[in-house]
């Protein structure tokens, strides 16, 4: 016997959200969805959750299971119980709860719509299929299987801090078109995605890559688009910040916070960050604005040359 705790919220009852618990006999091979079905069918038919395919392909049943978002249909219950000693099922995070485990995914979809999620081909497609070598088509692999379940958005720390951030699934979808040789709108896309709340707002926590139930790598996709937009010379605060970071490290062998902030935000921008500056000063974390080059700066510069050479070689390929 194991106890399953499930988050409950019913807007019609007007009561506070709470947890209900059931004691179930959990057999090996049973998934979390199997247990929810058992509760819904035989214990409490009011328990609400979305589900459909039971085979990790429709994306309906993402939820938070023992503190980590994933699909209930492909999450085995027994190993989790053995590991954690308990099972707690909650709705996805970063989305309002509509009822029990049903999350409001409207914000998720709005972000996906925003990135213009459809191919924009060139003027004249070929007579037959496009000729795109496997190696080029394989670029899509880190994103093309996205099932739009919302797990990544649920765990996204940048979205948590900034609800306007487009989030990993939408940006993985964006990448899918940026990386597609058949799409003719790459630069305009990169410009759009470089705007605030886009690719430069990811704080690279990696949770999206980690929780994706189907192996999509949204963060890799975002990093790829950052590189491409720097290569394309698309101006953005994010790109400026990355370049400033790079320049100050090459200059002195370590980060110069003052210069970096100045280069990426400008003086006016820095003034707007006055609150943060004041806090930093109060905590005694004043950076050294003079920053002499570190010992062994030559080594850093050698590394830079090496990277540069490699990059040029890659670009000429």
């Amino acid at each position: 016997m194991a106890t399953i705790k499930v988050y409950r919220y019913d807007p019609e009852e007007g009561t506070e959200a709470h947890y209900d618990a059931w004691d179930l006999d959990v057999k090996p091979g049973q998934t979390v969805l199997d247990l929810l079905h058992e509760i819904h069918y035989y214990r409490d038919p009011t328990l609400a959750f979305r589900r459909s395919c039971r085979s990790a392909i429709c994306g309906s049943c993402a939820m938070n299971i023992n503190g980590r978002t994933g699909l209930s249909c492909n999450t085995q219950a027994k190993p989790l119980l053995d590991r954690d000693g308990s099972l707690v099922v909650e709705p996805m995070k970063n989305m309002p709860v509509l009822k029990d485990l049903v999350a409001d995914m409207d914000g998720f979809w709005q972000a996906v719509y925003h990135i213009e999620p459809y191919l924009k081909p060139g003027a004249q497609p070929p007579k037959g299929p496009y000729v795109v070598p496997k190696a080029r088509m394989d670029l899509l692999k880190i994103a093309q299987d996205c099932i739009m379940c919302g797990s990544c958005l649920s765990e996204c720390t940048s979205r948590e801090a900034n609800p306007a951030y487009l989030g990993p699934a939408a940006l993985a979808k964006a990448y899918r078109f940026v990386a597609d040789a058949r799409d003719a709108d790459t630069v305009a896309r990169l410009q759009m995605y470089s705007e605030p709340n886009g690719i430069w707002d990811c704080d690279t926590c990696l949770y999206c890559n980690e929780v994706c139930p189907i192996g999509v790598k949204p963060m890799d996709a975002i990093m790829y688009m950052r590189e491409k937009s720097i290569e394309a010379g698309i101006p953005s605060q994010g790109a400026k910040h990355a370049l400033a970071f790079y320049e100050t490290v090459i200059e002195s062998g370590k980060l110069n916070e003052f210069k970096t902030a100045n280069k990426s935000l400008g003086l006016a921008g820095m003034a707007s960050q006055g609150g943060i500056v004041a806090k930093v000063l109060l905590r005694g974390k004043t950076p050294d604005v003079r920053k002499r080059p570190i010992k062994g700066i030559e080594e850093v510069r050698k590394l830079e040359q090496l990277v540069e050479r490699k990059r040029r070689k890659g670009a000429s390929k």
Partner: protein, 557 residues
């Protein structure tokens, strides 16, 4: 009340293409779908989509394989449309963005599939349905087609024999609403949840089929139910035919490659009806593992190739069976997978009720006859979704909105009210499990008169008991128990034409295999079954098969 020219019910692959086609014709289109479109079961189709696009391949070759696969029950002029349109369909989907798998030089890959003499299944890894569905959905977003998602249509409105609209139930808050339209395209997909073992999603409850049936549309060839040979033993999750297309081999518990016995030429890639029966025979004769499963061995391909070409098989096998297919064979057993029958349509997707069209798995043109070949279903959804959508838009353009429907809304309102307060002894899940067991045991892979008589009577008894239902949840918002009660009614209403049609058909053809009539009987039964809803009973009539250039022959592989 909502109003649109064309109402597409269901947002899967067929629905999305029907909606897009009608929209491009200039009609005001809306999709009414129980699920968000990307949650549709089309995404679960794995292995491929067929087209005679390879060098030396012809549409006639594709058509012949399809017709032979159908055990000569498919309508040959319809198959001609499907197979002629196929190559261009692949090209169009590629142009719209489907990431088909390619070779080093950039040409599209294809692979062999069951019952096809030539490799002509095109694919995107082993998530081809997902890839095609994404492309279709992307186009809906681009075109700005109106979408009512998580709205379950419950009833069609037919006035004076013509389509006038529908009533739908909004899952989020329990609202029932009338939708007026000049034409409808029903694209609600599969309805296999009346079978105990099924690869279908839990939501595949044949809602559109049942709705159309009750509204006066004929259902065609419902007795032909496909059992897929390779579902994962236990959870019955689909292991794609592509696993055998890539070289997978089945073996029984004694380690024998049993398909050598049943299909000496095509072996593991014989059509699905034959392979499923072979597995069932092995189990019946004691050569399967306890529990009735056999092995699907991919180990000789190596883990890397499996991960490259069959990533989903790899995932399913490790996550759901705890088996690494690079090291050990996958335990598989047959499970219900597809219904060849459906809402009877002509080659334009039109049903016998003016204004009602249907496409995809819920429709029966007939393209698959008595047995569908793998890779033809995704193709059907796109080709006939488009055809039906275009035809519905043309119908709407010259048609007028038929008034009426208030009494249907009232009747649906009363039904929901009843479901919310009825307090009988029968639970939704109790009845559903009985139905699933009954259909699996009595109208399964092998059939006979005594079993099927029990099934027909059993289904009728379940319908009577439905009146004593109790729905455990009384709320308005996301009341999935209420939705399941409505779905159960649809499953019961569909089970009877399956069982009655099967009982009446005294022969074995394709997926309909009778132990008491073990051979095909072209003189008596080379004809389609039509089932008609007559309120308290079902009437069966028959119509001839359209044969153009392929005369029926003995079907051997």
């Amino acid at each position: 009340m909502q109003k649109h020219d064309v109402l597409v019910i269901g947002g899967g692959l067929a629905g999305a293409h029907a909606a897009r086609a009608a929209h491009l014709e200039g009609a005001d289109v809306a999709i009414v779908s129980k699920l968000s479109p990307l949650r549709s079961h089309s995404v679960a189709a794995a292995g491929g989509i067929n087209a005679a696009l390879g060098e030396g391949d012809t549409w006639e070759g594709h058509a012949f394989d399809t017709i032979k696969g159908s055990d000569y029950l498919a309508d040959q002029d319809s198959v001609e449309i499907l197979t002629r349109e196929a190559p261009n369909t692949i090209v169009q989907m590629d142009h719209l963005g489907t990431p088909f798998s390619r070779d080093e030089q950039g040409k599209l890959f294809n692979r062999p599939f069951g019952g096809m003499r030539q490799a002509r299944a095109y694919f995107a890894g082993d998530r081809t349905g997902l890839a095609l569905m994404q492309t279709a959905w992307e186009q809906l977003v681009k075109e700005g087609v109106t979408l009512y998602e998580e709205w379950a249509a419950t009833s069609l409105i037919v006035e004076n024999g013509r389509f006038a609209g529908l009533v739908a139930y909004k899952i989020a808050d329990g609202t029932l609403e009338e939708f007026h339209g000049k034409a409808a395209v029903i694209c609600t997909g599969p309805g296999g949840q009346m079978y105990l073992k099924s690869t279908n999603a839990v939501t595949c409850t044949g809602d559109g089929l049942a709705m159309a049936f009750r509204a006066g549309c004929a259902l065609k060839d419902m007795e032909f139910v496909q059992f897929h040979p390779t579902s994962l033993h236990g959870p019955n999750i689909l292991i794609t035919e592509a696993a055998r297309g890539e070289g997978g081999i089945m073996r029984n518990a004694k380690g024998e490659r049993f398909m050598e016995k049943y299909s000496p030429t095509m072996l593991d890639l014989a059509p699905r009806d034959i392979v499923s029966r072979s597995i069932q025979t092995e189990a019946n004769e004691g050569r399967a593992y306890p529990g009735g499963y056999v092995d699907l061995d991919l180990t000789h391909l190596g883990r890397d190739r499996i991960k490259e070409r069959l990533p989903e098989v790899y995932q399913f096998s490790t996550e759901f069976a705890g088996v690494d297919p690079g090291e050990k064979p996958i335990p598989i057993e047959p499970a219900q997978h597809y219904i060849m029958g459906g809402i009877a349509t002509n080659n334009a997707g039109a049903t016998n009720v003016p204004g009602i069209y249907a496409a995809g798995e819920c429709a029966c043109v007939s393209l698959h006859g008595a047995n569908r070949l793998g890779g033809n279903a995704l193709l059907e959804c796109i080709v006939f979704g488009r055809i039906a959508g275009t035809a519905a838009a043309a119908f709407a353009k010259k048609g007028t909105q038929i008034a009426g429907g208030a009494q249907v809304l009232e009747q649906e309102d009363r039904r929901v009210e009843w479901l919310l307060k009825t307090g009988g002894p029968e639970t939704v899940e109790g009845l559903r499990q009985e139905l699933k067991r009954l259909m699996w045991d009595k109208v399964g892979i092998y059939r006979n008169e005594a079993d099927m008589t029990l099934a027909v009577n059993g289904v009728r008894e379940l319908r009577r008991r439905y009146a004593n239902l109790r729905v455990g949840a009384r709320g308005k918002k996301f009341n999935f128990s209420l939705l399941e009660a409505m779905e159960l009614r649809n499953l019961i209403d569909l089970s009877e034409p399956i069982a009655s049609g099967a009982l009446a058909r005294q022969e074995s053809r394709g997926a309909h295999a009778r132990t008491d009539f073990p051979t095909r009987d072209d003189a008596g039964w080379l004809k389609h079954t039509l089932a008609w809803w007559r309120g308290d009973r079902i009437e069966l009539t028959y119509e001839p098969v359209r044969i153009t250039q392929w005369q029926p022959q003995e079907r051997k592989y």
